[in-house]
């Protein structure tokens, strides 16, 4: 099945408007990019879009704790992960980098503390 999508390349400030042709979920053509990075971006963004997730979780004995995904996680899991994180309450002390939620929503990515609390 063929499909065409338009996305903005974010590899540089130029922001090329890319027209991406997908056949059965695979990128078969990229147009509108001024350089090779646009093509790489289109392939990543259309086939397996990921995002860093950063937010805060509640601390029973202190101010909210900033947390982040250790690495980018699938874009469509973001709101599901937020729901899970809303229910998380930790107790200080927490060391920077410690795992707050392991393998969040089965993404294979851990949520870790951004700083100490």
């Amino acid at each position: 099945m063929k499909e065409t999508r338009q996305i903005t390349c974010i590899r540089c400030p130029m922001g090329c408007l890319l027209t991406v042709e997908l056949t059965d979920g695979a990128v078969t053509k990229v147009e509108g990019n001024l350089c090779r990075r646009g093509e790489e971006y289109a392939k990543m963004e259309c086939v397996h879009p990921t995002r860093m997730l950063t937010t805060t979780v509640r601390v029973s004995n202190g101010a909210p704790l900033p947390v982040r995904s250790r690495e980018p996680l699938p874009k469509d899991a973001v709101f599901h992960c937020m729901e899970v994180l809303k229910g998380v309450v930790v107790t200080a002390p927490v060391a920077a980098g410690s795992v707050i939620v392991a393998d969040i929503c089965g993404t294979g990515v851990d949520m870790i503390a951004s700083t100490s609390a």
């Binding site: 922001g15 805060t56 101010a63 909210p64 900033p66 947390v67 982040r68 920077a96 951004s114 700083t115």
Partner: protein, 422 residues
């Protein structure tokens, strides 16, 4: 309460414990200056980075995508490692031209500090509703984006549920996403100019990802509501940025976030008699980041507003190193020439250069979006350097390096221009 009603003596006072102050203090200590003191108004070191829980910091400096707190912690850890003294919850109330810094804190009371040198690293504050003069009532629910960020990220409070953001600078974009992630409905982000002042990455990942509309050439013309905000009237603006009556439209919302610019906090610099640049709102400095008052240096957002903290750190390192040289009596003293903004450029930092040294990076901000841009640097009518760029935008600071042989050809004031590539 301990009263310290006396004058203490240190080599260097750094005013501000945010990214600029931390990096400046670290560099100065690494250059051998032992007795320095960081004064921070807030309860902890780290400045605005503490509330910037999103990632994207440090890509340039550490080749990693860090969150704000992670970026700050790298410097805070180093400050502790080096044993650099600091005082939090301490408000500086005056700086004199002869380096007497007056500060107050609950712990120490009123303290006067006679310093060998001073580094100004106070950062910015946000422009508020008053600064952009939005007509209407004065209900609760109108916040600057940074205040909302503090509520959400540091205090754990949501300022509202149905949000309109005015201003598409990075803080506005980041807060649009933050509010959406926390369950608010973000109705739109409005931008007065025909282009966004934010990074492309943020437009895609903060707005497009969440289908939040970005309305360019739009503004808020009226605020409604008695006790709590009930909505805003928005309108498209014409080429003179005046609202077009027929395009007025009401948007129902309980929260309006303002991301309408930053103002360097230079009241203390002014008190010390430091010359300010009317365009940047920061001090006029030379390449050592020394202000017009000898021994007072400036760096970070109090000098000019940066898009990336990475460049704040680099600038602060220059200031820290220069302050160390100044204290050792080794800061070179040469005649300076002015570095000026020509066509297509809003400002240049540093504003004065001596032309000595091996190479020199000049930072400047384009005054409009220009595709196929040619950046040229000239001095005394002679072209020193030309560089082509695919695109330049006011939202992304540019820089150009002058090499030793180009610096030798500096005879008279330097001008940077941005034009179309011919």
């Amino acid at each position: 309460m301990k009263r310290e009603n006396r004058t203490i003596h240190v080599s260097l006072v750094v005013v501000g414990g945010g990214p600029a102050g931390l990096a400046a203090a670290i560099r100065c200590r690494e250059q051998g200056i032992e007795d320095l003191l960081i004064l921070e108004r807030g309860p902890r070191l780290g400045g605005i980075l503490r509330q910037c829980v999103h990632s994207g910091f440090g890509v340039h400096k550490f080749n990693e995508e860090l969150t704000g707190p992670e970026y700050a912690d790298r410097y805070i850890d180093r400050v502790r490692e080096l044993g650099i003294p600091y005082r939090c919850d301490t408000m500086v109330t005056d700086i004199s031209a002869d380096h007497v810094v007056t500060c107050v804190s609950e712990e120490h009371g009123l303290t006067r500090i006679k310093a060998g040198a001073v580094i100004l690293a106070m950062g910015c504050r946000e422009r508020s509703r008053g600064a952009v003069r939005i007509p209407g009532t004065r209900p609760a629910g109108v916040y600057t984006a940074g205040t909302a960020q503090l509520f959400v990220n540091l205090k754990g409070y949501m300022p509202g549920k149905r949000v309109v953001v005015l201003g598409s600078g990075d803080i506005g974009l980041i807060m649009a996403r933050r509010m959406r992630l926390e369950g608010a409905e973000v109705k739109a982000v409005l931008e007065l100019m025909p282009y966004s002042g934010g990074l492309k990455r943020n437009i895609v990942q903060c707005l497009e990802d969440f289908d939040i509309p970005l309305l360019l050439s739009h503004t808020v013309t009226e605020i409604h509501g008695e006790n709590r905000l009930t909505g805003v009237t928005i309108a498209r603006v014409d080429e003179n940025l005046r609202p077009i009556e027929e395009t007025k439209e009401f948007i129902d919302c309980d929260t309006l976030l303002l991301s309408v610019g930053l103002i360097p906090e230079n009241e203390l610099a002014r008190a010390a008699g430091v010359e300010l640049d009317p365009v940047t709102g920061g001090a006029v400095v030379d390449e050592h980041r020394e202000t017009s008052v000898g021994g007072i240096f400036s760096c970070g957002n109090v000098l000019h507003v940066h898009d990336l903290v990475d460049y704040v750190s680099e600038e602060a390192e220059i200031a820290g190193e220069s302050a160390a040289l100044y204290l050792k009596g080794e800061l070179p003293r040469r005649q300076t020439v002015a570095a000026r903004a020509g066509n297509g450029v809003r400002y240049v930092v540093p504003q004065r250069i001596s032309g000595g040294g091996e190479e020199l990076r000049l930072f400047f901000r384009p005054d409009q979006v220009c595709r196929g841009a040619m950046i040229s640097v000239s001095s005394g009518g002679e072209l020193l350097r030309v560089r082509n760029r695919r695109i330049v935008t006011p939202g992304e600071m540019e820089s150009i390096v002058l090499k030793e042989e180009e610096l030798r050809r500096v005879h008279g004031d330097i001008t940077i221009e941005v034009g179309l590539k011919s």
